[in-house]
Assembly symmetry: C2
Homo-oligomer: 242 residues x 2
Amino acid sequence: MSINSQDVISNSGIIINQDKELYSFNLDTILLYNFAKPAKKGKIVDLCAGNGAIGLSLAAKTKAPIYLVEIQKQLADLSQKSIAENHLEQQVYSINDDLKNIQKYIDHDTVDTVVCNPPYFKLGDKTVIKDNPVLAIARHELKANLTDILSTIKVVLKENSHAYLVYRPERLSELFSIMTQQRLQPKKMRFVRTTKSKDANLVLLDLIKTVKEASLKVEPDLVIYDDQHRLTKEASLIINGK
Amino acid sequence: MSINSQDVISNSGIIINQDKELYSFNLDTILLYNFAKPAKKGKIVDLCAGNGAIGLSLAAKTKAPIYLVEIQKQLADLSQKSIAENHLEQQVYSINDDLKNIQKYIDHDTVDTVVCNPPYFKLGDKTVIKDNPVLAIARHELKANLTDILSTIKVVLKENSHAYLVYRPERLSELFSIMTQQRLQPKKMRFVRTTKSKDANLVLLDLIKTVKEASLKVEPDLVIYDDQHRLTKEASLIINGK
Protein backbone atom coordinates (compact mmCIF):
# COMPACT_ATOMS: atom_id res chain seq x y z
CA MET A 1 0.00 0.00 0.00
CA SER A 2 1.33 3.42 -0.92
CA ILE A 3 0.56 6.36 1.36
CA ASN A 4 1.87 9.74 0.40
CA SER A 5 -0.28 12.09 2.42
CA GLN A 6 -2.06 12.38 5.75
CA ASP A 7 -4.81 14.97 5.83
CA VAL A 8 -7.59 16.19 8.10
CA ILE A 9 -11.01 17.47 7.03
CA SER A 10 -11.93 20.83 8.57
CA ASN A 11 -11.51 20.61 12.34
CA SER A 12 -12.59 16.96 12.72
CA GLY A 13 -9.22 15.93 14.17
CA ILE A 14 -9.39 12.59 12.30
CA ILE A 15 -6.34 11.66 10.21
CA ILE A 16 -7.07 10.46 6.66
CA ASN A 17 -4.40 8.40 4.88
CA GLN A 18 -4.33 9.18 1.19
CA ASP A 19 -2.52 8.07 -1.91
CA LYS A 20 -2.75 11.05 -4.19
CA GLU A 21 -1.81 8.92 -7.17
CA LEU A 22 -4.96 6.85 -6.63
CA TYR A 23 -7.58 9.30 -5.48
CA SER A 24 -7.63 11.90 -2.76
CA PHE A 25 -10.42 13.86 -1.21
CA ASN A 26 -11.31 17.27 -2.49
CA LEU A 27 -13.71 20.14 -1.86
CA ASP A 28 -16.77 17.91 -2.49
CA THR A 29 -15.71 15.66 0.38
CA ILE A 30 -15.19 18.57 2.77
CA LEU A 31 -18.53 20.15 1.87
CA LEU A 32 -20.45 16.89 2.27
CA TYR A 33 -18.81 16.22 5.64
CA ASN A 34 -19.90 19.66 6.81
CA PHE A 35 -23.41 19.37 5.37
CA ALA A 36 -24.18 15.92 6.82
CA LYS A 37 -25.96 15.62 10.17
CA PRO A 38 -25.31 12.04 11.29
CA ALA A 39 -27.67 10.43 13.78
CA LYS A 40 -26.28 10.41 17.33
CA LYS A 41 -27.30 6.79 17.81
CA GLY A 42 -28.01 3.82 15.52
CA LYS A 43 -26.00 3.04 12.40
CA ILE A 44 -24.20 5.24 9.85
CA VAL A 45 -23.17 4.12 6.33
CA ASP A 46 -20.73 5.87 3.98
CA LEU A 47 -21.44 4.52 0.47
CA CYS A 48 -18.77 4.86 -2.25
CA ALA A 49 -16.53 5.66 0.69
CA GLY A 50 -13.20 5.81 -1.17
CA ASN A 51 -10.40 6.17 1.37
CA GLY A 52 -13.10 6.74 4.01
CA ALA A 53 -12.52 10.48 4.39
CA ILE A 54 -16.15 11.40 5.11
CA GLY A 55 -17.19 8.36 7.12
CA LEU A 56 -14.04 8.45 9.28
CA SER A 57 -14.37 12.18 9.92
CA LEU A 58 -18.00 11.70 11.00
CA ALA A 59 -16.59 9.99 14.10
CA ALA A 60 -15.98 13.57 15.27
CA LYS A 61 -19.74 14.24 15.08
CA THR A 62 -21.31 11.00 16.38
CA LYS A 63 -20.62 8.02 18.60
CA ALA A 64 -22.73 5.72 16.39
CA PRO A 65 -21.02 2.87 14.48
CA ILE A 66 -19.96 3.88 10.96
CA TYR A 67 -19.65 1.46 8.03
CA LEU A 68 -17.47 2.43 5.05
CA VAL A 69 -18.55 0.60 1.88
CA GLU A 70 -15.96 0.73 -0.91
CA ILE A 71 -15.49 -1.64 -3.86
CA GLN A 72 -11.82 -0.78 -4.55
CA LYS A 73 -9.33 -2.69 -2.42
CA GLN A 74 -6.56 -0.07 -2.57
CA LEU A 75 -8.90 2.57 -1.14
CA ALA A 76 -10.52 0.27 1.44
CA ASP A 77 -7.01 -0.70 2.62
CA LEU A 78 -6.18 2.98 3.15
CA SER A 79 -9.32 3.47 5.22
CA GLN A 80 -8.46 0.36 7.28
CA LYS A 81 -5.10 1.92 8.08
CA SER A 82 -6.75 5.22 9.05
CA ILE A 83 -9.19 3.36 11.33
CA ALA A 84 -6.22 1.85 13.18
CA GLU A 85 -4.23 5.08 13.39
CA ASN A 86 -7.18 6.98 14.77
CA HIS A 87 -7.96 4.13 17.23
CA LEU A 88 -11.48 3.88 15.83
CA GLU A 89 -11.63 0.06 15.59
CA GLN A 90 -14.61 0.03 17.97
CA GLN A 91 -16.60 2.53 15.91
CA VAL A 92 -15.63 2.50 12.22
CA TYR A 93 -15.71 -0.61 9.99
CA SER A 94 -14.41 -0.97 6.45
CA ILE A 95 -16.45 -3.16 4.07
CA ASN A 96 -14.50 -3.86 0.89
CA ASP A 97 -17.26 -5.04 -1.42
CA ASP A 98 -19.66 -3.94 -4.14
CA LEU A 99 -22.51 -1.88 -2.68
CA LYS A 100 -24.92 -4.22 -4.47
CA ASN A 101 -23.87 -6.87 -1.89
CA ILE A 102 -24.57 -4.60 1.07
CA GLN A 103 -27.22 -6.90 2.57
CA LYS A 104 -24.48 -9.47 3.30
CA TYR A 105 -23.28 -7.01 5.96
CA ILE A 106 -26.15 -4.69 6.84
CA ASP A 107 -29.84 -5.60 7.18
CA HIS A 108 -32.47 -3.68 5.25
CA ASP A 109 -34.29 -0.84 7.05
CA THR A 110 -31.70 -0.61 9.83
CA VAL A 111 -29.56 2.43 8.97
CA ASP A 112 -30.09 5.86 10.53
CA THR A 113 -27.89 7.98 8.24
CA VAL A 114 -26.26 7.44 4.85
CA VAL A 115 -23.60 9.72 3.38
CA CYS A 116 -22.57 9.30 -0.24
CA ASN A 117 -20.28 11.06 -2.70
CA PRO A 118 -21.14 8.99 -5.79
CA PRO A 119 -19.37 8.88 -9.16
CA TYR A 120 -20.74 11.86 -11.11
CA PHE A 121 -20.16 10.85 -14.70
CA LYS A 122 -22.00 8.47 -16.98
CA LEU A 123 -20.07 6.08 -19.12
CA GLY A 124 -19.50 7.47 -22.56
CA ASP A 125 -17.00 7.97 -25.32
CA LYS A 126 -15.02 10.36 -23.17
CA THR A 127 -14.59 7.98 -20.24
CA VAL A 128 -10.83 7.61 -19.87
CA ILE A 129 -9.84 4.65 -17.73
CA LYS A 130 -6.45 3.63 -19.05
CA ASP A 131 -4.24 5.99 -17.05
CA ASN A 132 -5.77 5.63 -13.61
CA PRO A 133 -8.42 2.93 -13.22
CA VAL A 134 -8.92 3.66 -9.50
CA LEU A 135 -9.72 7.29 -10.18
CA ALA A 136 -11.89 6.32 -13.16
CA ILE A 137 -14.05 4.05 -10.95
CA ALA A 138 -14.36 6.78 -8.31
CA ARG A 139 -15.49 9.34 -10.89
CA HIS A 140 -17.39 7.36 -13.52
CA GLU A 141 -20.31 4.96 -13.27
CA LEU A 142 -18.15 1.93 -14.09
CA LYS A 143 -19.16 -0.20 -11.10
CA ALA A 144 -22.41 1.41 -9.92
CA ASN A 145 -24.86 3.80 -11.53
CA LEU A 146 -27.28 6.22 -9.94
CA THR A 147 -30.08 3.64 -9.74
CA ASP A 148 -27.76 1.11 -8.02
CA ILE A 149 -26.72 3.72 -5.48
CA LEU A 150 -30.17 5.15 -4.74
CA SER A 151 -31.77 1.71 -4.51
CA THR A 152 -29.05 0.69 -2.02
CA ILE A 153 -29.78 3.81 0.05
CA LYS A 154 -33.50 2.97 -0.06
CA VAL A 155 -32.87 -0.64 1.01
CA VAL A 156 -30.69 0.08 4.03
CA LEU A 157 -32.30 3.28 5.39
CA LYS A 158 -34.97 3.22 8.05
CA GLU A 159 -38.23 4.95 7.17
CA ASN A 160 -37.95 8.75 7.62
CA SER A 161 -34.17 8.57 8.04
CA HIS A 162 -31.81 10.84 6.14
CA ALA A 163 -29.18 10.45 3.45
CA TYR A 164 -26.74 13.23 2.51
CA LEU A 165 -25.37 13.43 -1.03
CA VAL A 166 -23.12 15.69 -3.02
CA TYR A 167 -23.78 15.73 -6.75
CA ARG A 168 -23.61 17.72 -9.96
CA PRO A 169 -26.47 20.11 -10.82
CA GLU A 170 -26.24 18.99 -14.46
CA ARG A 171 -27.93 15.68 -13.58
CA LEU A 172 -30.42 16.94 -11.00
CA SER A 173 -33.51 16.04 -13.03
CA GLU A 174 -32.33 12.45 -13.46
CA LEU A 175 -31.36 12.28 -9.79
CA PHE A 176 -34.83 13.43 -8.65
CA SER A 177 -36.60 11.08 -11.05
CA ILE A 178 -34.68 8.04 -9.81
CA MET A 179 -35.09 9.16 -6.20
CA THR A 180 -38.85 9.32 -6.69
CA GLN A 181 -38.83 5.78 -8.12
CA GLN A 182 -36.96 4.70 -4.98
CA ARG A 183 -39.32 6.48 -2.55
CA LEU A 184 -36.59 8.97 -1.61
CA GLN A 185 -37.63 12.62 -1.29
CA PRO A 186 -35.37 15.67 -1.11
CA LYS A 187 -35.90 17.75 2.04
CA LYS A 188 -33.12 20.33 1.75
CA MET A 189 -30.89 21.34 -1.11
CA ARG A 190 -28.01 23.74 -1.22
CA PHE A 191 -26.14 24.84 -4.34
CA VAL A 192 -22.43 25.58 -4.29
CA ARG A 193 -20.94 28.25 -6.56
CA THR A 194 -17.33 29.33 -7.10
CA THR A 195 -18.53 32.95 -7.00
CA LYS A 196 -22.05 34.32 -6.61
CA SER A 197 -22.32 35.22 -10.29
CA LYS A 198 -21.33 31.75 -11.57
CA ASP A 199 -23.58 28.81 -12.40
CA ALA A 200 -23.70 26.28 -9.56
CA ASN A 201 -21.06 23.54 -9.83
CA LEU A 202 -22.16 21.30 -6.96
CA VAL A 203 -25.35 20.53 -5.10
CA LEU A 204 -25.68 19.24 -1.53
CA LEU A 205 -28.79 17.20 -0.81
CA ASP A 206 -30.52 16.08 2.35
CA LEU A 207 -33.10 13.44 1.51
CA ILE A 208 -35.35 11.06 3.40
CA LYS A 209 -36.94 7.70 2.75
CA THR A 210 -40.68 8.16 2.90
CA VAL A 211 -43.91 7.14 1.21
CA LYS A 212 -45.32 10.60 1.86
CA GLU A 213 -44.69 13.69 -0.20
CA ALA A 214 -42.04 15.99 1.14
CA SER A 215 -41.63 19.73 0.78
CA LEU A 216 -38.20 20.82 -0.48
CA LYS A 217 -36.30 23.76 1.00
CA VAL A 218 -33.72 25.36 -1.28
CA GLU A 219 -31.33 26.92 1.21
CA PRO A 220 -29.10 29.95 0.61
CA ASP A 221 -26.20 29.17 -1.72
CA LEU A 222 -22.74 28.36 -0.48
CA VAL A 223 -20.38 30.72 -2.32
CA ILE A 224 -16.69 29.80 -2.15
CA TYR A 225 -14.92 33.00 -3.27
CA ASP A 226 -15.87 36.64 -2.97
CA ASP A 227 -15.35 39.22 -5.73
CA GLN A 228 -11.68 39.65 -4.71
CA HIS A 229 -11.14 35.89 -5.05
CA ARG A 230 -10.75 35.47 -1.30
CA LEU A 231 -12.51 32.59 0.48
CA THR A 232 -15.85 33.81 1.82
CA LYS A 233 -16.28 33.76 5.59
CA GLU A 234 -18.49 30.66 5.45
CA ALA A 235 -16.22 28.77 3.01
CA SER A 236 -13.18 29.57 5.15
CA LEU A 237 -14.96 28.27 8.25
CA ILE A 238 -15.85 25.03 6.44
CA ILE A 239 -12.50 24.48 4.72
CA ASN A 240 -10.02 25.86 7.26
CA GLY A 241 -12.13 25.61 10.40
CA LYS A 242 -11.77 29.35 11.01
CA MET B 1 -67.17 42.34 -16.85
CA SER B 2 -65.56 44.31 -14.05
CA ILE B 3 -62.25 46.05 -14.70
CA ASN B 4 -60.68 47.97 -11.91
CA SER B 5 -57.09 48.31 -13.00
CA GLN B 6 -54.94 48.68 -16.10
CA ASP B 7 -51.32 47.70 -15.63
CA VAL B 8 -48.17 47.20 -17.65
CA ILE B 9 -45.45 44.58 -17.06
CA SER B 10 -41.92 46.02 -16.93
CA ASN B 11 -41.35 48.11 -20.04
CA SER B 12 -43.43 45.98 -22.45
CA GLY B 13 -45.81 48.85 -23.25
CA ILE B 14 -48.76 46.40 -23.38
CA ILE B 15 -51.81 47.33 -21.29
CA ILE B 16 -53.25 44.53 -19.14
CA ASN B 17 -56.84 44.83 -17.95
CA GLN B 18 -57.28 43.39 -14.51
CA ASP B 19 -60.02 42.78 -12.01
CA LYS B 20 -58.19 42.71 -8.72
CA GLU B 21 -61.16 41.08 -7.03
CA LEU B 22 -60.77 38.08 -9.34
CA TYR B 23 -57.05 37.68 -9.80
CA SER B 24 -54.30 40.03 -10.77
CA PHE B 25 -50.74 39.46 -11.85
CA ASN B 26 -47.96 39.55 -9.35
CA LEU B 27 -44.19 39.21 -9.11
CA ASP B 28 -44.27 35.65 -10.52
CA THR B 29 -45.85 36.95 -13.72
CA ILE B 30 -43.30 39.72 -14.13
CA LEU B 31 -40.38 37.37 -13.50
CA LEU B 32 -41.64 34.75 -15.95
CA TYR B 33 -42.21 37.40 -18.63
CA ASN B 34 -38.63 38.56 -18.20
CA PHE B 35 -37.18 35.04 -18.09
CA ALA B 36 -38.98 33.74 -21.19
CA LYS B 37 -37.29 33.91 -24.59
CA PRO B 38 -40.13 33.49 -27.10
CA ALA B 39 -39.31 32.25 -30.60
CA LYS B 40 -39.21 35.06 -33.17
CA LYS B 41 -41.27 33.02 -35.62
CA GLY B 42 -43.73 30.13 -35.35
CA LYS B 43 -46.32 29.78 -32.62
CA ILE B 44 -46.37 30.80 -28.95
CA VAL B 45 -48.76 29.39 -26.32
CA ASP B 46 -49.48 30.83 -22.86
CA LEU B 47 -51.03 28.00 -20.80
CA CYS B 48 -53.04 28.83 -17.67
CA ALA B 49 -52.98 32.35 -19.12
CA GLY B 50 -55.29 34.03 -16.59
CA ASN B 51 -55.98 37.58 -17.77
CA GLY B 52 -53.26 37.06 -20.40
CA ALA B 53 -50.64 39.23 -18.73
CA ILE B 54 -47.61 37.19 -19.83
CA GLY B 55 -48.82 36.13 -23.30
CA LEU B 56 -50.01 39.64 -24.18
CA SER B 57 -46.80 41.24 -22.96
CA LEU B 58 -44.74 38.80 -25.05
CA ALA B 59 -46.05 40.70 -28.10
CA ALA B 60 -43.36 43.23 -27.13
CA LYS B 61 -40.70 40.53 -27.65
CA THR B 62 -41.91 38.63 -30.75
CA LYS B 63 -44.03 39.02 -33.88
CA ALA B 64 -45.12 35.36 -33.74
CA PRO B 65 -48.81 34.54 -33.09
CA ILE B 66 -49.60 34.05 -29.40
CA TYR B 67 -52.42 31.83 -28.08
CA LEU B 68 -53.75 32.43 -24.56
CA VAL B 69 -55.35 29.29 -23.12
CA GLU B 70 -57.52 29.94 -20.05
CA ILE B 71 -60.38 27.88 -18.64
CA GLN B 72 -62.05 30.70 -16.66
CA LYS B 73 -64.43 32.87 -18.70
CA GLN B 74 -64.07 36.00 -16.55
CA LEU B 75 -60.30 35.99 -17.04
CA ALA B 76 -60.43 35.08 -20.76
CA ASP B 77 -62.90 37.97 -21.27
CA LEU B 78 -60.44 40.37 -19.67
CA SER B 79 -57.67 39.19 -22.00
CA GLN B 80 -60.02 39.59 -24.99
CA LYS B 81 -60.56 43.20 -23.99
CA SER B 82 -56.82 43.77 -23.61
CA ILE B 83 -56.22 42.26 -27.07
CA ALA B 84 -58.61 44.84 -28.56
CA GLU B 85 -57.26 47.80 -26.61
CA ASN B 86 -53.69 47.00 -27.61
CA HIS B 87 -54.76 46.44 -31.26
CA LEU B 88 -53.29 42.96 -31.16
CA GLU B 89 -56.17 41.13 -32.87
CA GLN B 90 -53.82 40.01 -35.66
CA GLN B 91 -51.28 38.51 -33.24
CA VAL B 92 -52.86 37.42 -29.95
CA TYR B 93 -55.78 34.98 -29.66
CA SER B 94 -57.76 34.07 -26.56
CA ILE B 95 -58.88 30.44 -26.22
CA ASN B 96 -61.41 30.07 -23.40
CA ASP B 97 -61.29 26.33 -22.81
CA ASP B 98 -59.78 23.61 -20.66
CA LEU B 99 -56.15 22.98 -21.63
CA LYS B 100 -57.03 19.28 -21.94
CA ASN B 101 -58.98 20.28 -25.08
CA ILE B 102 -56.04 22.12 -26.62
CA GLN B 103 -55.86 19.90 -29.69
CA LYS B 104 -59.23 21.31 -30.83
CA TYR B 105 -57.33 24.54 -31.51
CA ILE B 106 -53.64 23.73 -31.86
CA ASP B 107 -52.09 20.70 -33.58
CA HIS B 108 -49.60 18.53 -31.75
CA ASP B 109 -45.87 19.18 -32.35
CA THR B 110 -46.47 22.65 -33.82
CA VAL B 111 -45.62 25.10 -31.04
CA ASP B 112 -42.27 26.90 -30.80
CA THR B 113 -42.55 28.32 -27.27
CA VAL B 114 -44.80 27.67 -24.29
CA VAL B 115 -45.00 29.92 -21.24
CA CYS B 116 -46.89 28.75 -18.17
CA ASN B 117 -47.53 30.01 -14.66
CA PRO B 118 -49.45 26.98 -13.34
CA PRO B 119 -51.45 26.63 -10.14
CA TYR B 120 -48.90 25.84 -7.42
CA PHE B 121 -50.97 24.11 -4.79
CA LYS B 122 -52.33 20.59 -4.56
CA LEU B 123 -55.85 20.04 -3.43
CA GLY B 124 -56.06 19.34 0.23
CA ASP B 125 -57.88 20.05 3.41
CA LYS B 126 -56.63 23.62 3.41
CA THR B 127 -57.89 24.48 -0.09
CA VAL B 128 -60.25 27.40 0.45
CA ILE B 129 -62.54 28.00 -2.50
CA LYS B 130 -65.65 29.50 -0.98
CA ASP B 131 -64.60 33.17 -0.93
CA ASN B 132 -63.09 33.53 -4.38
CA PRO B 133 -63.50 30.56 -6.73
CA VAL B 134 -61.67 32.33 -9.59
CA LEU B 135 -58.58 32.86 -7.47
CA ALA B 136 -58.87 29.33 -6.06
CA ILE B 137 -58.75 27.83 -9.58
CA ALA B 138 -55.78 30.01 -10.52
CA ARG B 139 -53.83 28.94 -7.43
CA HIS B 140 -54.95 25.38 -6.73
CA GLU B 141 -55.02 22.26 -8.90
CA LEU B 142 -58.81 22.28 -9.13
CA LYS B 143 -59.06 22.09 -12.93
CA ALA B 144 -55.62 20.85 -13.99
CA ASN B 145 -52.78 19.17 -12.13
CA LEU B 146 -49.07 19.09 -12.91
CA THR B 147 -49.37 15.98 -15.10
CA ASP B 148 -52.21 17.57 -17.14
CA ILE B 149 -50.13 20.70 -17.69
CA LEU B 150 -46.84 19.00 -18.51
CA SER B 151 -48.47 16.48 -20.83
CA THR B 152 -50.18 19.37 -22.67
CA ILE B 153 -46.81 21.10 -23.04
CA LYS B 154 -45.30 17.86 -24.37
CA VAL B 155 -48.14 17.38 -26.86
CA VAL B 156 -48.08 20.84 -28.42
CA LEU B 157 -44.32 21.60 -28.40
CA LYS B 158 -42.10 20.84 -31.35
CA GLU B 159 -39.10 18.62 -30.65
CA ASN B 160 -36.23 20.63 -29.08
CA SER B 161 -38.46 23.66 -28.49
CA HIS B 162 -38.61 25.47 -25.19
CA ALA B 163 -41.16 25.99 -22.44
CA TYR B 164 -40.71 28.54 -19.63
CA LEU B 165 -42.29 27.92 -16.25
CA VAL B 166 -42.42 29.60 -12.88
CA TYR B 167 -43.00 27.27 -9.94
CA ARG B 168 -42.43 26.64 -6.26
CA PRO B 169 -39.16 25.01 -5.15
CA GLU B 170 -41.11 22.93 -2.60
CA ARG B 171 -42.43 20.71 -5.43
CA LEU B 172 -39.31 20.59 -7.61
CA SER B 173 -38.73 16.85 -7.20
CA GLU B 174 -42.29 16.06 -8.29
CA LEU B 175 -42.01 18.55 -11.17
CA PHE B 176 -38.80 16.93 -12.46
CA SER B 177 -40.20 13.42 -12.11
CA ILE B 178 -43.32 14.24 -14.11
CA MET B 179 -41.27 16.17 -16.68
CA THR B 180 -39.07 13.11 -17.19
CA GLN B 181 -42.18 10.96 -17.74
CA GLN B 182 -43.28 13.49 -20.38
CA ARG B 183 -39.89 13.63 -22.15
CA LEU B 184 -39.30 17.19 -20.96
CA GLN B 185 -35.81 18.06 -19.72
CA PRO B 186 -34.75 21.14 -17.74
CA LYS B 187 -32.01 23.16 -19.47
CA LYS B 188 -31.74 26.20 -17.22
CA MET B 189 -33.02 26.90 -13.76
CA ARG B 190 -32.91 30.06 -11.71
CA PHE B 191 -33.98 30.40 -8.09
CA VAL B 192 -35.59 33.57 -6.79
CA ARG B 193 -35.01 34.69 -3.19
CA THR B 194 -36.42 37.63 -1.24
CA THR B 195 -32.92 38.25 0.14
CA LYS B 196 -29.71 36.31 -0.45
CA SER B 197 -29.84 34.68 2.98
CA LYS B 198 -33.43 33.37 2.60
CA ASP B 199 -34.59 30.03 1.22
CA ALA B 200 -35.71 30.30 -2.41
CA ASN B 201 -39.42 31.06 -2.82
CA LEU B 202 -39.72 30.70 -6.60
CA VAL B 203 -37.95 28.85 -9.38
CA LEU B 204 -37.79 29.84 -13.05
CA LEU B 205 -37.35 26.95 -15.47
CA ASP B 206 -36.33 26.74 -19.11
CA LEU B 207 -37.09 23.26 -20.40
CA ILE B 208 -37.11 21.48 -23.75
CA LYS B 209 -38.93 18.57 -25.29
CA THR B 210 -36.34 15.96 -26.20
CA VAL B 211 -35.67 12.24 -26.16
CA LYS B 212 -32.02 12.89 -25.37
CA GLU B 213 -30.56 13.63 -21.99
CA ALA B 214 -30.00 17.28 -21.24
CA SER B 215 -27.48 18.95 -18.99
CA LEU B 216 -28.98 21.41 -16.49
CA LYS B 217 -27.43 24.81 -15.76
CA VAL B 218 -28.32 26.33 -12.39
CA GLU B 219 -27.87 30.03 -13.05
CA PRO B 220 -27.02 32.69 -10.46
CA ASP B 221 -29.94 33.44 -8.15
CA LEU B 222 -32.25 36.36 -8.65
CA VAL B 223 -32.29 38.23 -5.34
CA ILE B 224 -35.13 40.76 -4.92
CA TYR B 225 -34.01 42.88 -1.95
CA ASP B 226 -30.57 43.80 -0.65
CA ASP B 227 -29.63 43.91 3.04
CA GLN B 228 -31.16 47.41 3.38
CA HIS B 229 -34.45 46.09 1.96
CA ARG B 230 -34.03 48.08 -1.25
CA LEU B 231 -34.72 46.41 -4.61
CA THR B 232 -31.47 45.03 -6.02
CA LYS B 233 -30.26 46.55 -9.28
CA GLU B 234 -31.39 43.51 -11.28
CA ALA B 235 -34.80 43.26 -9.58
CA SER B 236 -35.41 46.98 -10.15
CA LEU B 237 -34.55 46.61 -13.84
CA ILE B 238 -37.00 43.70 -14.17
CA ILE B 239 -39.83 45.19 -12.10
CA ASN B 240 -39.55 48.91 -12.87
CA GLY B 241 -37.65 48.75 -16.16
CA LYS B 242 -34.83 50.85 -14.70
